[in-house]
Amino acid sequence: MGEGPRPGWAAVHDEAVALVAEAAARGQVLRLVGSTGIRLHCPPAAAALDRLGRPAKDIDLVCRHEDRKGMRRLLEDRGWQVDRDLLVAMEGRRYAFHHPGSGLELDVFVDRMEFCHTIELRDRLAARELTVPVEDLLLQKLQIIRQTVTDRMDAAALLATHPVGEADQPGEAIDPAYVAGLLARDWGFHHTATANLAALRDDPAGNGSAGTVRGRIDALLGAIEAAPKSVRWRARSRVGERMQWWQDVDEREAVY
């Protein structure tokens, strides 16, 4: 895609934080996901990503479906322009915006993130102040059927900076029970996520904390393996890879 100079991280950071704060002031719940969410979730992850040369990306947000109207007004008040083509195609399940002033791009997902696998977020949106919980940030990277190096950098950064299990402060550790429970209900998601975790364990994206990351992946895989699986999971596992186990994700092609 042809692009001008990327807006710096400071611009992305300031706008992302301001949007969440402004939404809260208006009584809406808006939370960050994606690489911007990971950077904002914890400074150590941002530092790790900086070391890996991971560029600042665009802004990805999640809102509740009842907040869609207010969310759109909020963004338009701040100069964002909605992608009308996508508005028709997505029918309120997703929005895309462009800011002509800053050149930033912004996506808003409603209640859930639908990619290769679906992550339900509605009941977890308000769990943290700025972003969705760390487990969902990680799952967003693990659900990708064709991970890029940057996806693996993001996942590795989260694992390098968050222990798996109990933490001193709520939300600062990856809850293995939550991840394992979710994957125990969906064989397809389980298959993709465990394959991605295994690939990351074998080559943790050049991260300096490779040993730590490997240990945490093993802990997470152990919990996932141990979790009792649903009847549906077991039935689907018998079919295995003979049937496609992920949703097709189309490119957002240029609009002519």
């Binding site: 083509d85 028709v88 195609a89 029918e91 059927i145 690939a199 097709d248 189309d250 957002r252």
Partner: protein, 542 residues
């Protein structure tokens, strides 16, 4: 390129970073196109008009020839849909591939024609579906009330109000969302297919003798007497004739044209290459074979000559030789099949199946025209309001409302003025023919765009397959236009030196309005500081 983990093993390429889960998959596109073909309308028109007005025509052969031509057209539309995977129909390809002004005017003509056909389908729901249903079930069950209802629903007021209700229902369905629309269509499609299987079984198991006996018992008509009456009034039976079969192909072609209209919803289709290929070519093949099959089944159960005779009597207004006097409905295929079963449950299943098949046409036509309007709006040659997406329903309610309202106007004209704009199809052929001309020129005139598209990879002897299929399509359209122009039964000439048809004035009016609108809007936008031509010159972002 960056190293990637690819669980699919499909090679290394850039993952769509902010990819979309679109609404319509391969099955949805296939059902959308099959619905736009409307097997029910095709069978009804084929068996009513074929043996009666084109004696000697092998209806099955006409259908297969039409399907063959449609394969070339579907292939060309498929290439357009992968070059420009967005909604808007031929407007998108014509505006980027030929001329923005022509694209707007041509797609405006197309939109009006398709709205007419949406209303036409709604009228068939009443006549071929509901009225025939009530009549057949009424006569099979010996229920006079149903027979009275059959007669009253076929009156102009019944046609208008029930047809309008069908159109509004289709509009409301679309307004509630494309996802819901596709879900409803899938359910109806399953029911229609199941009903069709029942119908095939009925036709296979029902004998000519049973049909003759039931015809006499239920309607008082004598099988041989119907044929004799027709012959006395000028019906001439013909043995199989290839030229007549070719002449008749324009009838099955009309519904088959729908098999490619998923080009109109390209922006909502996931895995566009696979979905559109399967959806377009699959729909042509599946419906072409199925519709042709029913000609054989009808000939077996009813007899070719009888179908021709009773259709001839019906069209000629010879009451004693048709079903109108006894049943209150024209001898559409549905009525004859209902008589064959002489069973209320089976007759109900058959009628419901046809209503479902005909219904498919209505929301799909409205959806197509709606997407064209939105594309105009996004290109700023129509008011922004036309592309407005409701914050409540998240659908383009203004465009849907306008399409529905336009179809209701045609519904009124069909019901109360008994209009039949048969030769409008000629204008549609010209517009779609222009899309074929654009396809021939496109690899040269928009070389960069073409080379960047998936269509560039398909070549025969170095020539893009799109060009080959477009040439074949253009030749087929030329044949169709010739047949329509020279056949007063199917359409007739739009104009001659001595006569100008209503349809010509309608098309001319739309063209004049379209040209004035386009030029006026372009000037207006220029005063606003917006150059609308930029949208058409833009090359894809790489």
């Amino acid at each position: 390129m960056a190293q990637q983990a690819d669980l699919t093993g499909r090679g290394v390429f850039s993952r769509p970073a902010s990819g979309l889960i679109r609404v319509a998959g391969s099955a949805d596109v296939f059902i959308y196109n099959v619905g736009l073909v409307s097997v029910g309308i095709a069978i009804a028109l084929n068996q009513y008009y074929g043996p009666s007005l084109y004696p000697g025509a092998g209806v099955w052969l006409s259908t297969l020839l039409a399907a063959l031509g449609m394969l070339a057209i579907a292939a060309t539309f498929y290439f357009w849909s992968v070059i420009f995977p967005r909604s808007g129909g031929v407007y998108v390809s014509l505006s980027r591939g030929l001329s923005p002004g022509f694209a707007f005017v041509g797609s405006l003509v197309e939109t009006v024609i398709l709205l007419y056909y949406a209303a036409f389908a709604a009228s068939l729901i009443v006549k071929v579906g509901l009225s025939s249903f009530l009549a057949t079930v009424g006569v099979v069950a010996g229920n006079k009330t149903l027979l009275d209802w059959a007669a009253s629903t076929a009156e102009p007021t019944g046609v208008f109000w029930i047809g309008t209700a069908s159109l509004v229902l289709a509009g409301v369905l679309l307004a509630t969302g494309t996802r819901r629309y596709f879900s409803v269509q899938k359910v109806l499609f399953a029911l229609a297919v199941a009903g069709t299987v029942v119908l095939v079984a009925v036709m296979l198991l029902g004998s000519r003798g049973t049909f003759k006996a039931n015809l006499h018992k239920l309607t008082g008509l004598d099988y041989a007497g119907v044929v004799a009456t027709a012959k006395q009034n000028g019906y001439v039976t013909g043995s199989f004739n290839l030229a007549t079969s070719i002449k008749f192909l324009v009838f099955p072609l009309l519904p088959l044209l729908g098999a490619v209209q998923s080009i109109g919803i390209g922006g909502e289709v996931k895995r566009v290459r696979r979905s559109q290929l399967f959806g377009m070519l699959g729909a042509v093949v599946a419906t072409g074979v199925l519709i042709a099959l029913f000609d054989g089944l009808a000939a077996k159960a009813f007899g070719y000559e009888f179908q021709g005779a009773i259709g001839f009597n019906s069209i000629s207004g010879i009451a004693e030789g048709s079903t109108e006097a006894s049943v209150g409905a024209s001898p559409w295929f549905t009525v004859l099949a209902g008589i064959l079963t002489s069973n209320v449950v089976l007759a109900t299943v058959i009628m419901a199946t046809f209503v479902a098949w005909i219904w498919f046409w209505i929301p799909a036509e409205l959806a197509y025209t709606t997407r064209t309007m939105i594309a105009w709006s996004f290109d700023r040659i129509a008011p922004d309001r036309l592309g407005h997406v409701s914050e409540r329903f998240h659908t383009p309610v203004v465009a849907i409302g306008l399409s529905t309202a336009g179809a209701v106007v045609f519904m009124w004209l069909i019901a109360y003025r008994n209009i039949a704009f048969l030769s409008l199809i000629e204008a549609l052929v010209v517009v779609w023919g222009a899309a074929m001309v654009a396809a021939i020129l496109f690899p040269r005139t928009r070389r960069e765009l073409f080379q960047a598209s998936p269509a560039a990879g398909s070549r025969i002897g170095g020539v893009p397959v799109m060009v080959v299929t477009a040439v074949l399509s253009l030749a087929f359209f030329a044949l169709v236009l010739f047949l329509l122009w020279n056949d007063p039964i199917a359409a007739g000439p739009m104009f001659t030196l001595s006569h100008v048809s209503r349809e010509f004035w309608i098309v001319l009016g739309i063209v004049v309005f379209g040209v004035a609108w386009f030029l006026g809007t372009r000037a207006y936008r220029r005063r606003q500081g917006i150059d609308v031509d930029l949208a058409f010159r833009q090359i894809p972002i790489e």
